[in-house]
Symmetry: C2
Subunit: 244 residues, 2 copies
């Protein structure tokens, strides 16, 4: 028998989910921040993650399409604007492309999704579908991984800059704006679920949505780790890094 | 056997579709601009059309969610921004609410969709679904009714202001920005379909999409005409105008 949590208890339960399941606890992330990845492995990471980045505005437009309140849409649409920018060459997606090209992948291979792992696509596509099909409360709750993203970004930027001489601060320009955008978005989503999850069942659904989203991010690193680290069995058609 | 039209011929064929099928040729529109509607009939029009207005940003977000090109999304998202505005009390939807309340319908009845005709919902929902399910080319082509909207707006504003003493210019503030927004949007969509319809089959699909959209708008006026003009048989739960 589940009882109704207070909004503060709900928040604590969500933070506990992140503490246990967010992908900064994944072995691949640890290797990255410890400076133990090769350039090729970082390329594979940037390329595969680009598929996620490229689908995020589509995911957010899917949620926008389900919102019948202009006030709510005005808030949510900012996510799309952040990723797409105001003009050619701006926005988060463009900065992620800069990260991937900064690591040496030709731009056309990045935007052409050349060699993205099938498991990456499956996980990302499952996330977009989740946001199209599940109740709005769950779709919004699934974005709550952003609560934990500043910590991961901090570790990632510090580790990448200190341990890999081929990584420049310019290459990592994606991350700096995210340190303010992600908390703003996460705070909104957190307030939303705390206000709208009115029953124990709702609260459970919110928790499960966050668990699901953690699984999405985690499984993306699983696929990278499997293909490029250990056992290092690249599936057919997967990106082949140059060099060691 | 259909041959491939030149882009200019395709445009002419689309303009011919509008000349024949756009809803400014509907009897209800003619009555409106000729000053022959009652206040109650205008209320019914404003209320039912509000359902259409309220769904347009959701329709456009549905299309946005299918666009994988940030440059294309940057252009398309402006439609959503125009309708939702930049803050509370701004944007096209708010101006349509002002039109309906200016005609004497309480705001809560407008936004609560109180008494909207089932046929209005069916037509509008069919349009949103069309944009979610049909190929992108057809989804974009279905917006091409905006090619013909400035003419209809001109007739409508002139007729409403000259023939109905209870209609003020402020009440009609929705229409003025549309005189620049609609042509901008229509020009983009027209260029898009002229460029992307590369086969006779594509061109046929573009024409059919515009015909479909004309049917949507036309059938909304059919339902209004049937319920509120002639024979004037209001279905159960439909909005009941006060007075004659």
């Amino acid at each position: 028998m589940t009882r109704l949590l207070s909004p503060e208890e709900l928040e604590q339960s969500l933070r506990a989910i992140g503490a246990e399941r967010y992908h900064n606890r994944h072995a691949f992330h640890r290797l990255m921040v410890d400076g133990a990845l090769t350039k090729g492995q970082l390329q594979a990471w940037a390329l595969n993650r680009y598929y996620y980045q490229s689908r995020i505005p589509m995911k957010d437009a899917t949620i926008l399409a389900r919102m019948d309140d202009p006030a709510l849409r005005r808030i949510w649409r900012q996510r799309i604007i952040d990723h797409d920018g105001d003009a050619e060459g701006q926005g988060g997606i463009e900065k992620w492309i800069a990260l991937a090209t900064g690591l040496g992948i030709p731009r056309a291979d990045v935007t052409g999704l050349k060699g993205v792992l099938p498991a990456t696509r499956f996980a990302v596509d499952a996330y977009v579908r989740f946001c199209a099909e599940r109740p709005m409360l769950e779709a919004i709750a699934s974005s709550l991984t952003e609560l934990f993203s500043p910590t991961a970004i901090g570790e990632r930027v510090k580790g990448l800059l200190s341990s890999y001489d081929f990584v420049s601060p310019e290459t990592l320009s994606y991350f700096e704006p995210r340190l303010t955008q992600a908390p703003r978005d996460a705070d909104f989503a957190l307030d939303y679920v705390k206000e709208h999850a009115k029953t124990p069942e709702d609260q459970r659904a919110v928790q499960e949505a966050l668990v699901f989203k953690c699984h999405v991010l985690w499984s993306m690193l699983d696929a990278l780790h499997f293909a490029y680290v250990e056992p290092g069995l690249r599936p057919p058609d997967a990106f082949v890094p140059e060099g060691p």
